[in-house]
């Protein structure tokens, strides 16, 4: 005890801190890496092999899988669609959740109830709630088309049209994730110092000017956070597509992540799944990195 105590006193504050930090961090990082980093390395190596998980070991094929990826337009189309469909979902979610947050930022006895209600769709697994959408969207006797018929409208064959399938994917996505985003926005809105608005009122600034010069700058970090996490989320989005449209009509709503999932665990083309997810991972990291750069730049300007 005595010896240790003296030693600690001799060490500089910085040395003491770094020792303690390593003692806390390293065991955990080591343990986490076993379960995550190791499979990732195995997975990345798979991208350079041909492997169907049935017989024998992975066969090294070099860059063949990557050549297939860039050689055929099919995978590129899927990557592009992942970006634009994900982008649409993200934009719809960000805009609608912001409007929702503005609506929730009004003091009223019922506000708590409304806030809870909009969050609830997010607490159930997507697989559990998608059944309702499937039952409603049945082209022939689904609830929606039966309703249209009863008011004398032509039924819509949803699964024939890319537009409607993307539309419903967006609805399902936004329905599930608008609540949490709105609550983050709300947190941001409420963290803005109220005295700023009072001062603006005294100076005779209009509501619109207040939004322009107080609300928006005050929410910069929040919006960056929502965009960044949302971006990473939609670049990996596939469960919504799988549950609502199965990529139909005829592959027109298929996205790269869904392709990777099917390559990996449906057709067991493990090599291709590895290569495609490496590429998707790199693209995502690149986009996230750019977004991160922009945020930290904003931070410095502050």
């Amino acid at each position: 005890m005595e010896v240790v105590g003296r030693q600690e006193r001799i060490l500089t504050r910085k040395q003491r801190q770094s020792r303690r930090a390593y003692a806390v961090i390293l065991p955990f990082f080591f343990y986490i890496s076993i379960w995550s980093l190791l499979p990732l390395v195995i997975g990345l190596l798979l991208g350079f092999t041909e492997f169907n998980a049935l017989n024998g070991l992975p066969k090294w094929v070099g860059l063949d899988n990557f050549k297939t990826f860039f050689g055929s337009k099919d995978y590129i189309i899927l990557l592009v669609r992942q970006v634009w469909m994900g982008g649409l979902c993200l934009i719809a979610n960000v805009v609608l959740s912001f409007l929702l947050a503005l609506a929730l930022n009004i003091k009223h006895p019922l506000r708590g109830f409304f806030r809870t209600s909009v969050y609830i769709p997010n607490i159930a697994a997507a697989a559990i709630t998608s059944g309702v959408f499937i039952a409603l969207l049945n082209p022939f006797n689904g609830g929606l088309n039966m309703f249209f018929k009863s008011i004398g409208m032509e039924p819509i064959i949803w699964n024939y049209s890319q537009f409607w399938m993307v539309f419903w994917i967006m609805i399902f996505f936004v329905w599930r994730s608008v609540g949490p985003a709105a609550i983050i926005w709300l947190g941001g809105l409420q963290s803005i110092d109220a005295s700023l608005y009072e001062a603006a009122n005294v100076d005779g600034a209009s509501k619109l000017q207040q939004v322009r010069y107080i609300t928006i700058p005050g929410l910069r970090f929040i919006s960056a956070y929502i965009l960044l996490t949302g971006l990473i989320g939609v670049m990996q989005m596939f469960d919504v597509v799988m549950l609502i449209s199965h990529g139909n009509p005829y592959g027109k709503t298929d996205v790269l992540m869904y392709r990777i999932y099917r390559d990996g665990v449906v057709s067991f083309n493990m090599g291709m799944a590895g290569a495609a997810s490496t590429i998707l991972g790199l693209v995502t990291v690149l986009i996230a990195f750019l977004a991160f750069k922009i945020i930290s730049k904003g931070d410095k300007n502050e």
Partner: protein
């Protein structure tokens, strides 16, 4: 500092202890098993023949689709009780198999697993094979030829091969039978006589050719005023679509290809696609190519519905038609002009034994129970052809059943294959055929040769 290290150490220790504890548990379990084995050995030690010793060895077998777990049994019983019916013959088959294995092989410790069907089952099995833990028996339908062609299945013993119709076997690349379906069906044309009568057609004279069928179906649709439809060839954007389209291609003497070729550019194949597109007009919009098959069957067979006159389905369709009191008929699929008889195996449950499995002979014993003459009668009751030669060659067991007779005729007429398989990326190629060829044909008015050429290029890239 010291306390921190102590804490981390404690964490690690807790973890190791849980890990070791688990290992101890396992060891204890093995101990128990050895103990029970010992006990039984001492009991039977009175007659110490080798045979007896062998039969008391506890053999643990993991097998999907060969019997029922307690949960599944309970579920079936509950369902039957809730609907006030007896347990259906399809479920009764698994009850009987489970009972027979327990009776005949008391030393088998059976682990009947419920891993779902289709993709889910494939995923589960491949993951286990991959990790070197292959189950004792693998089961499946569309992906079993892929397993067989990879050479991972043990050849079947001759006595099993002799028992069954060759249509029910799958062969490995060396031509040895490695997997057998203990039941399978073929496609037939079911029709609703009431609807045909109402449309002024002769209900006792079902269509024999494509043209006749189209005329009759069109007539039903035309007189149905948007309420009643004739029905056509479904083109569901999954295996359910390609399974039903395949017999029609085979009737024209073509198929999608197979191995490392794809022949979507074949004019006869495109002609068939045109027919499928024409027939789709006789479905209510969006029903014949929905990814959920359920609504179509419910329109055809449900008691208060019955709004579709014709349906292409496996012989199991019979059950629902009888239960719901329809006036119905069944016939072989109509033929194109100058066509040949063609069909496709559907609703099959193939089983096989992986090369890596332990106790292979015991696994084959399980398959022998599955093919038991008495237990197989359950399938006949359900209206599904049994794999056994005795039930296909003679219809003595089902003299009244026109559905089964039609199916047996189809089976006797030649070896019927399941869906063709591709050497590489099989599942992905089929997905393109299902969605970008079949479903697109009926969903859009794009020229058929454009559809085919685009898909051909995409698939060729996958087969390279």
């Amino acid at each position: 500092m010291k306390k921190l290290i102590a804490m981390v150490l404690a964490c690690i220790m807790v973890l190791t202890m849980t890990a070791c504890g688990a290992q101890k548990d396992d060891v204890a379990e093995t101990d128990k098993t050895t103990e029970t084995t010992k006990e039984t050995t001492t009991e039977t030690a009175v007659e110490p023949t080798k045979e007896a010793e062998k039969s008391t060895e506890i053999i643990h077998l993991v097998a999907p689709k060969t019997g029922f777990t307690e949960e599944q049994m309970q579920l079936e019983k509950d369902n039957a009780a809730a609907n006030n019916t007896k347990i259906g013959p399809g479920a009764q088959f698994y009850f009987d198999v489970t009972a027979k294995i327990a009776e005949q092989y008391p030393n088998y410790e059976m682990e009947y697993v419920d891993w779902g069907w289709a993709e889910t089952l494939d995923q589960k099995q491949r993951s286990l094979i991959l990790s070197g833990n292959a189950p004792s028996i693998v089961a499946g339908e569309t992906f079993m030829p892929v397993y067989a062609s990879s050479g991972m299945l043990e050849p079947l013993p001759q006595d099993i091969v002799d028992m069954v119709n060759p249509s029910f076997l799958i062969y490995d690349p060396e031509g040895r039978p490695v997997s057998v379906a203990y039941k399978s069906s073929v496609f037939l044309l079911f029709y609703n006589k009431t609807l045909l009568k109402n449309a002024g057609l002769d209900p006792e004279n079902p269509p024999k050719t494509w043209d006749e069928w189209k005329q009759m179906s069109d007539a039903v649709t035309a007189s149905g005023n948007g309420e009643i439809f004739g029905g056509g060839v479904p083109s569901f954007p999954h295996a359910g679509g390609s399974l039903r389209a395949t017999p029609f291609f085979r009737q024209m003497g073509v198929d999608f290809g197979g191995g490392s070729t794809i022949n979507l550019t074949d004019p006869k194949l495109q002609e068939t696609l045109q027919y499928i597109r024409d027939m789709n007009a006789n479905f209510p919009a969006g029903l014949g190519n929905n990814s959920d098959e359920g609504p179509l069957w419910s329109e055809f067979q449900d008691k208060d519905k019955g709004t579709i006159a014709f349906a292409v389905n496996g012989s199991w369709q019979k059950g629902a038609m009888i239960d719901n009191g329809h006036d119905w008929g069944v016939t072989a699929l109509p033929l194109p002009e100058g066509g040949v008889v063609g069909n496709c195996m559907v609703g099959a449950v193939y089983v096989g034994v992986p090369i890596t499995a332990e106790h292979k002979e015991d696994c084959f014993n399980i398959i022998r129970v599955l093919l038991d003459t008495e237990i197989q009668k359950n399938w006949l009751k359900e209206g599904t052809p049994s794999a056994l030669n005795i039930y296909i060659d003679s219809s003595a067991e089902y003299p009244e059943d026109i559905t089964l007779q039609a199916a047996a005729d189809a089976l006797k007429s030649g070896t019927i294959k399941g869906l063709t398989t591709f050497n590489k990326n099989d599942a992905q190629v089929w997905e393109i055929i299902n969605t970008k060829v079949l479903a697109r044909t009926t969903m859009t008015n794009d020229p058929i040769d454009t559809i085919c050429n685009e898909a051909q290029a995409e698939i060729e890239n996958l087969l390279k």
